[in-house]
């Protein structure tokens, strides 16, 4: 579904992402994790076509993002950490606008179903200013799902959500993965990754430190078999200040 090969992004002398390769298949949820400045946001922006990579290729549903960006983006949905809405459009008008941009002919039926699913049906005529943070996030998700993307990217999806919103967001991610989408989930919340992701990619200083299923990564980095993902993360990223265990990772 999404294949990233040798992705490199440089800003002058500084390399934000170095030779990154990974793939996420349909139905999989890949957690993207790393300390601040590891290159997560840059990676996501390259994958979504917002910024061009310096080197490497990104293929979305088999389409090369560099050669046919429009076709590739048609398969994509990107949910940034902060829901960005148009102040003057109602919930329904947001969906109408997105339908035009993505050419979704039967948008009304789809929108009705998505809004019902996200419990937003009674907010069709509401303006963004009337919505809570969670509802705004739901509206962004509704807009993103309208064109039935095959690759979905979440950047810190739980920011600012209340417990109810968090639970709903996790369920939504699991559901759309079950329905066959490939998901990339970037978050600092390791418990979220543990709950939702099928595998994890750990970045540090722009380079891949580990990539694989959570049990496999735990197997590779944990000292104890029941070590938390947090312990595994600190060992993998080699953060000495917070690393409780001082032993080197297993080969």
């Amino acid at each position: 579904m999404i294949e990233v090969a040798n992705l490199t992004k440089r800003y002058g002398e500084f390399t934000a992402v170095h030779d990154l390769s990974f793939a996420v298949q349909a139905g999989e949820v890949m957690g993207l994790v790393g300390p601040n400045g590891a290159g997560k946001t840059t990676t996501l922006r390259c994958i979504t076509g917002i910024i061009p990579p310096t080197l490497g290729t990104v293929r979305v549903a088999g389409v090369d993002l560099a050669t046919d960006p429009v076709a590739a983006k048609r398969q994509l949905a990107f949910f940034p950490d902060e829901p960005r809405l148009f102040d003057h459009l109602t919930v329904e008008q947001h969906l109408n606008f997105v339908a035009r941009v993505y050419h979704v002919a039967d948008w009304r039926d789809r929108a009705a179903s998505i809004l019902a699913n996200l419990e937003l049906s009674d907010k069709r005529q509401a303006m963004p200013g009337e919505l809570s943070r969670g509802m705004k996030q739901k509206l962004v998700i509704a807009c993103g799902l309208l064109h039935q993307p095959s690759v979905i990217i979440f950047d810190e999806p739980l920011t600012g959500l209340d417990p109810g919103g968090i639970r709903h967001m996790k369920e939504t991610m699991r559901r759309i993965a079950r329905e066959g989408a490939a998901i990339i989930l970037s978050s600092h919340l390791l418990s979220l990754l543990e709950e939702v992701c099928t595998h994890v990619l750990i970045l540090k200083a722009g380079a891949k430190v580990a990539d694989g299923s959570i049990p496999a990564i735990r197997e590779r980095f944990a000292v104890e078999p029941d070590a938390s993902l947090e312990d595994v993360f600190f060992r993998a990223t080699g953060d000495a200040a917070t690393n409780s265990a001082s032993e080197p990772p297993k080969p």
Binding site: T48, K73, L76, D87, A99, V101
Partner: protein, 582 residues
């Protein structure tokens, strides 16, 4: 505590100045600063300082004539603030000041004093520039220092009055006098005062005679005479105290006028600091709103408000899910602009203009008025032609802030360009079409010139209707290209702290805009001119006008297409992460 405040104040000011000087190491600020300083020197300072050593521009009596009018203006400003202002008792603090000073062991009076002293910097600067700038065209004989000091008295007193009045309004609110009741009371008082004045003066003051209305000086004398009559003079006296130092003709007059003005200012100060109204809550709210406005403007969202509108606006047309995506952008932006920006509004405006101007033109006696309307309309059209894209600058600047969103859409670069430019192009075209309609209905009407025929006028107007959309498109491509090719400049012209360097940058942009515009119009003008020459020789002037405008329109369309394609390439290659500060 005072020392702590002084430390905060002067350290902040010094650091801000150092920061401003340090950013001059960046060429965009340095060049901007040089141009800005040159502009100030050549346009403001040189003339103003030269003026200091010269004789006053107007007769010394002119100030005496203007002073009563200024007094009335000040009275109206204050009355309107009591009638309409809803500003709560809020002192302007930054969010950091709220966070550090409000919980600190600082008295309420100290906070007010701190804020008032801080506001003095802006007042001093405003007074200085007003004193300099208004020297040009000055009609009374005050010196530069007295003018500046006069402005300082006016601005400071107004500042104190607005603050104390906001406290008083909050106090009234606490006593159950809501804004509607307050307005009714103030309005009733003003009406009662007006009635009293009329009653008292109805037999004392006569209407202006022909001699009074002969010229501005005699009219000014008449107004001064009326205003000097009781009871008007009693009510206006405190306002006169405030403006009198500014209008003092000599140093002695100034010193004589100053004590009353300072006394009034001191009274306002005591009124403000003695008011037992809580300003903290409103100040916190105002600080948060201000911080949000600044943050929104820095990110390119110029109209951001805390919550945004809560009432849906009507849709300009039904948006089909199929078709050109750019129309979706137009639909979205027209919704945001509101119900005035709808086709029916333009049609109604055009119908009203046609009806009204035809009625006017039907009366030969009103022909001078019709002609005047026509030429004013042409001037406005030309002015909007040059400065229209400047009005749309903010819309175009949003390009950058929205690019991370629009680049994720499945759209080619040129489609994004068209989407973002379509709304300003449509707006500008409709405005220019309206000006054209008015010009067509007024300029040639009743002309005795045999060359100006209805057919020729219609052909010319029809041709311009065709030319205007691509021409507006071309005009708007220029600031759009400026944003894409000089994103750092476009960013810096936001509210990141104004200053002479930002002003210089804007001047450079304006000059660049005019040059690029001239170059872009040249091919259309050349081809159109050639077509006119050939066709007018072969067929006649009317046909030549049509062919000329058609040719020019085609060339402009080609130029716009090329410009959109070129800008689309730039959008496709645009790397937000390297072009903008990360």
């Amino acid at each position: 505590m005072t020392r702590a405040f002084l430390f905060l104040y002067f350290t902040s000011m010094r650091n801000a100045l150092v920061q401003r000087l340090q950013r001059l190491r960046q060429p965009k600020y340095l060049v901007g600063a040089i141009v800005g300083i040159l502009y100030f020197y050549l346009v403001v300072f040189r003339r103003s300082f030269r003026g200091l050593s010269q004789a006053p521009a107007g007769p010394p009596t002119a100030g005496a004539l203007i002073e009563p009018i200024a007094t009335v203006i000040l009275f109206i400003v204050v009355a309107l603030s009591w009638l309409f202002s809803n500003r709560r008792a809020a002192l302007q603090f930054s969010e950091a000041e709220v966070a550090f000073l409000f919980p600190a062991p600082v008295s309420r009076r100290t906070l007010i004093n701190y804020r008032l002293i801080r506001s003095q910097v802006g007042i001093f600067l405003s007074a200085f520039f007003l004193g300099l700038v208004l020297r040009q065209g000055m009609t009374h004989g005050a010196g530069a220092f007295m003018r500046t000091a006069g402005w300082w008295v006016i601005l400071s007193t107004l500042n104190l009055h607005f603050l104390a009045a906001s406290f008083a309004r909050d106090r009234l609110l606490d006593l159950g006098v809501n804004p509607v009741r307050r307005r009714l009371i103030v309005g009733a008082l003003l009406v009662a005062f007006g009635a009293l004045v009329w009653w008292v003066l109805r037999n004392v003051v006569s209407l202006p005679t022909e001699a009074d209305a002969a010229n501005l000086t005699s009219m000014g004398r008449y107004v001064s005479r009326v205003l000097a009559t009781a009871p008007i003079s009693w009510v206006l006296r405190p306002f006169d105290w405030v403006v009198r130092p500014y209008f003092a003709a000599t140093g002695t007059d100034f010193l004589t006028a100053l004590p009353a003005a300072l006394l009034l200012m001191a009274g306002h100060y005591l009124w403000a600091v003695q008011s037992s109204v809580s300003f903290e809550e409103a100040s916190i709210d105002a600080a948060a709103r201000r911080a949000e406005r600044i943050a929104a403007a820095r990110s390119g969202r110029w109209t951001a408000s805390r919550k945004g509108p809560t009432k849906p606006k009507s849709e300009p047309f039904r948006l089909s899910p199929r078709g050109w995506p750019a129309v979706g952008f137009l639909w979205k932006n027209l919704i945001a602009l509101g119900p005035l920006f709808r086709l029916r509004v333009w049609v109604i405006a055009a119908a009203v203009a046609v009806f009204a101007l035809n009625r006017l033109a039907a009366d030969p006696g009103r022909m001078p008025l019709v002609k005047t309307i026509g030429w004013v309309d042409v001037m406005l059209a030309c002015w909007f032609f040059i400065f229209g894209p400047m009005f749309m600058r903010r819309e175009v600047q949003q390009t950058l802030s929205q690019l991370d969103m629009t680049k994720a859409f499945p759209l080619a670069g040129w489609q994004i360009v068209v989407g973002q430019l379509l709304t300003p192009i449509v707006l500008m075209t409709f405005v220019e079409w309206f000006f054209l309609l008015v010009a067509t209905l007024t300029i040639g009407v009743g002309s005795s010139n045999p060359w100006v025929t209805v057919a020729l006028g219609t052909a010319g107007a029809a041709g311009l209707v065709l030319i205007l959309p691509p021409l507006c498109g071309l005009l708007l491509c220029i600031p759009y290209a400026g944003v894409l090719y000089f994103p750092a400049w476009a960013q810096s012209s936001g509210p990141r702290g104004g200053g002479v360097e930002i002003m210089g940058q804007r001047l450079i942009f304006l000059a660049g805009y005019v040059v690029v515009l001239a170059v872009a119009i040249l091919p259309a003008a050349a081809v159109g001119g050639l077509a006119y020459f050939i066709v007018s020789q072969l067929v006649g002037t009317g046909s030549a006008v049509v062919v000329t405008t058609l040719c020019a329109s085609v060339i402009l369309c080609l130029e716009v297409t090329a410009a959109v394609w070129w800008l689309g390439q730039k959008v496709d290659q645009f790397d937000l992460s390297t072009e903008l500060p990360r």
